[in-house]
Structure formats: structure tokens, C-alpha cells
Amino acid sequence: MTADTPSPPPSDRQRTPFEKGLDRFFEGTTLTFALFILLLLIAIGLLILVDAWPAIKEFGLGFLWTSSWNPVAGRESYGVLPMVYGTLVSSAIALLIAVPLGLGTALFLSENFIPLKIRTVLVFMVELLAAIPSVVYGLWGIFVLIPALKWFLGLFGIPFTGPSMLAASLVLAIMILPIITAISRDSLAALPPELRQGSYGLGATRWGTIFRVLIPAAISGIVGGVMLALGRAMGETMAVTMLIGNSNTISLSLLAPSNTISSLLANQFAEAKGIQVAALMYAAFVLVILTLIVNILADWIVRKLQAKY
């Protein structure tokens, strides 16, 4: 090194007050937006709670395990147990059908069973399922699914009236299928290729690799997708209302009509007045709490599974 060429001095350029202000402005803007979301959530929760207050005072926690829903003036009694039951059971059945189907589809679409071009088309079609409005699903259920079920069950001499827990659960399963498939496929596709090669390199078969390495490695993403789908199934309104029969009773038969909380709200809100509005608001509050529990549970499971690895 010679002293002839001194290195340039470190830059002494200062940021102008305008630039600094711009930074602060940006920070403030994002903070406002974030706070806005929080406020919105609180506002919704508060509104539901305030409107539900007369019912909460009147029925207390007994609301949760009372099964009669009678809005006739003078003989009013409100309980949400059949709807909680209907919400949980219809979502559970939908999951039971959609999880194996969705995960299977995701595996099929993330492995190279078929050429990439066909796979791309199939992925697009699965995602298209999510774009169909739920009222269309309801119509499809009424005009296609219910007659098909009627014919099929008729083969075994089983009487089937139509709107029922079964019909609603089946349509729910189809509606949440794209969520499970898309999220599972993404988490499977995001796995490092080294994992797959490592397993094959040890002499594992494709099935061994899928079930012992790939699925365990992607499990937190898959569970996350399933939980998101569960949340969707519990809150789904339109298609369920059209198919479930809206009967506020608990029946163990899947062929009998039933009801869910969101479907109850959709059906009764327009004509409700007085304490019935409060009772419906109380039911809505129960639904919000239920989905909140599902979300917290999902987060906990995902964390638990991630911590394991």
C-alpha cells in the first residue's frame, strides 16, 4: 500500500429533517392501521356483549345447557345447547371427511405421480372450489346432493327427508376441502428437497418417505390448515342454513334436521324483537367464544408440534 491514494473519507451525509419526518410518518401510519384492527375487534365484541346483556342477565350460564328455543311472547325460553351441538357435530363430521380427502389430494399434488402440467391444472381447480359462493353450494346441496342421498339411502330402504345434519356436513366438507388441500400442499412443497433425497438415499420407498418423513415434517402446517378449516366450518352460514333443516332439537341421527348457531342467527334475526334479539346476540357471543377457543387450541397445537423438532 502506498500513501498516494488515500481511501475516500467515510460519508458524512446526514439525513434531512424531511427524510426523518417521512420515516416517523410511515411508522405512525402503520401503527394507526394496526390499532384500528384491534379497535374494530373490540368494538364488535363490545357490541355483541352489550346487546346480549339482557339475555345474559336473564338466562345466565344456563343458556348454554337449555335446549328449548321458544320466541312466542309470554312463554319465551331460550337455550342454545342444540345449536352448539349442531355446530360442533357438523364441523366434526366435515373435518372427518375433508381431512383424509384433503391431505390425500395435497400429497398427490405435491408428489410427482403425474406430469407437472396436469398437476398445475388440478391445483387450480382445487383452489377454484374455494371461490364458489356459499349460496351456490347450498343450491347444489338442495338440487343435487339431497336427491342423490335420497336415492342412495333408498337403496337400503332408509327413509330420508332431505334437509339434515348429513347433507349440511357433506357440503361443509366440500367447502373446507380447498383450505386443507391448499395449506397442506404448500407446507409439503416447502419442505427442503434434501429431506426427501435423504430418505430415498437410505432405501425408503415412496410411501415410507411420505408417511414417516414428509408428513411428520410438515405436520405443523397441516394442523394449522385443518384448524383454519374448522374455524370456517363452524362459522359457515348460508349453505348450512339451506341444508340443515333448522330444527332446534338434538337428535343423534345424522339424517334428522338440526341447527347451528350461525344458521340460527341467519334465520331468526330479521324478525326478532325484544329479548329474542338479546338471546340471539348471546348465541353469537357463544359462537365467537367457541371459535376463539378453536383458534387458541390451534395455535397451541402448532407450537407444541414445532417445539418437538
Partner: protein, 270 residues
């Protein structure tokens, strides 16, 4: 033209043999006309500039290239005289006998114990699993470092430990050949030395082929060295890899026959 055998040194047993192999990805010819004999219980190093096809050839030996859809091979690759690409050969069986260690340590998201037990379990190992896990880890010189935390995740280990875990995992299936694709590329010098010592241990029981970019490494560990080179062509892809020279490591590094080998090992290109 290259001879199948290394030019000097006596070769006893040939485990793997490639004969006039051309390797294609779709219509792109990646490697042309490779003929090589891999001797038993020796370490053979594949060296050469990037894109010369050394990893590609390595992956053909345990049919890992089958995972790439457009891959195809012309020519013959045999394992103890048996054609590796015969239609009745099950690639799963091939990979059990010819194991592979990768460039990046790739432990499974499982416990250390399960990482080792994975291979034996899928191949239906009936013996004492605890013992097999211990011997495999001992052979990979990792046992003392992990014996108290076998139930912890494989990811809890350092990079060098992870790579030795992957080696232990590979030898737990008791293969005959271990293919190593730049096993030390992601490791620090101390871990690298450990893996190299491990290779010298293992070669008493296994046949090892190692792809390396590190020429010192080849001189330190390899009995034989194959120098691959790339050649510019008119076809799509622009260049094609070929085996330029195959000889004892000493000969390749001190007195190679080809000009290009000499230029490469003295650091004039690559």
C-alpha cells in the same frame, strides 16, 4: 479415451463399474462417455470444476437421479456385475446397499435416536435397535457427544455433528458402498477433519466415493482420484462433462498424464 481402470496401482475387487455412460436431462447431454471402475474398500475421489458432472455420475450409482423426471442414462452401470438399470432391479434395494451422504447435513425432523433407527426400521431390521443405534453412532465417532441426549431433536446438533449423524444414519442400514456428495462443503475445518478421519475408519468396511471441490481433501483421504472436466459444445446447455483421467491419487496430483489435469490440480483453472 480413458481406461476403465486407474492407470497405476493394482486393483483387486471392482464393486461399481460404469461403462460408456452418457447421462441426459431431457435432450441435454450432461455427461458423456464415462467408464470407471470403483475398487472395493478404497476411497475414490471425484474432483473437477463445477458443472463437470461428478455429482451427476455419483447419483447415478444409487439411482437417485431417478427422482428427476427428465433423467435418462445410456450405457451400463453395474454393481458386482449386476446391471443397476435392468428393468427388474428395484431402486429401493439399490439404495439400501449403496447409501448416500449429502452436501448439506439433512437430518430428519426426528430425535437423534429415530434419525438412526429410521433406515433399519423401514428395511425391516429385526435385531436389537438400541445396540444398532449405539454401534452406528460409535462408528461415526458421535456417540460420546450425543449419548446423553438421544431423545433430543437432530437439529439440536451443530453442523458438523449433524453431518456425522447423517453418516451414522447411512451406515446403520449396513450398505456396502457409501456415496458422499461434497460432505464437508458446509462444515468448518475442524468438523471437516473429523469427517475425514471418520472416512478413513470406515473404509475398512465400506467402499467410499467422495465428490469434493477441495483438492487438499482428495489428497488427504482418497486412494484413487478421478478428474472430471467440462467441454464446451454446440448443443443446448453449452457444455458436457467427461472423465478426463482416473489414477491413484498420488499420480493425479504429482504426475498426471493430461495437461488439463495438471492445470486443475495446480490451481490454474476451476
Amino acid at each position: 479415451m480413458v481406461d476403465t481402470m486407474p492407470k497405476s496401482g493394482t486393483m483387486t475387487d471392482v464393486v461399481l463399474r460404469a461403462k460408456e455412460c452418457d447421462i441426459y436431462y431431457g435432450s441435454y447431454k450432461a455427461v458423456r462417455d464415462v467408464s470407471i471402475d470403483i475398487p472395493r474398500n478404497k476411497i475414490t475421489a471425484f474432483i473437477g470444476p463445477s458443472g463437470c458432472g461428478k455429482s451427476t455420475v455419483l447419483r447415478c450409482f444409487n439411482r437417485l437421479n431417478d427422482l428427476i423426471e427428465s433423467f435418462s442414462l445410456k450405457g451400463k452401470m453395474t454393481y458386482h456385475g449386476q446391471d443397476l438399470y435392468a428393468p427388474d432391479v428395484d431402486p429401493v434395494e439399490v439404495r439400501r446397499r449403496i447409501g448416500m451422504v449429502f452436501q448439506k447435513p439433512n437430518p430428519f425432523p426426528k430425535t437423534i435416536y429415530d434419525n438412526i433407527a429410521y433406515g433399519p426400521r423401514i428395511s425391516g431390521y429385526k435385531g436389537d435397535m438400541d445396540e444398532l443405534v449405539e454401534t452406528s453412532l460409535r462408528r461415526a465417532v458421535l456417540w460420546d457427544e450425543v449419548k446423553d441426549k438421544l431423545q433430543e431433536s437432530g437439529f439440536s446438533l451443530s453442523g458438523g455433528q449433524q453431518q456425522r449423524l447423517c453418516i451414522a444414519r447411512t451406515i446403520a442400514v449396513q450398505p456396502e458402498v457409501v456415496l458422499m456428495d461434497e460432505p464437508c462443503a458446509a462444515l468448518d475445518p475442524i468438523s471437516t477433519l473429523k469427517v475425514e478421519e471418520l472416512m478413513k475408519e470406515l473404509v475398512q468396511n465400506y467402499t467410499i466415493i467422495i465428490v469434493t471441490h477441495n483438492m487438499q481433501q482428495a489428497t488427504r483421504v482418497a486412494d484413487y482420484t478421478a478428474f472430471y472436466n467440462a467441454q464446451v459444445t454446440e448443443e443446448a446447455g453449452g457444455k458436457v462433462g467427461y472423465l478426463a483421467e482416473f489414477d491413484s491419487t498420488e499420480k493425479i496430483f504429482n504426475d498426471p498424464e493430461q495437461e488439463s489435469t495438471r492445470d486443475y490440480v495446480t490451481g490454474r483453472f476451476g
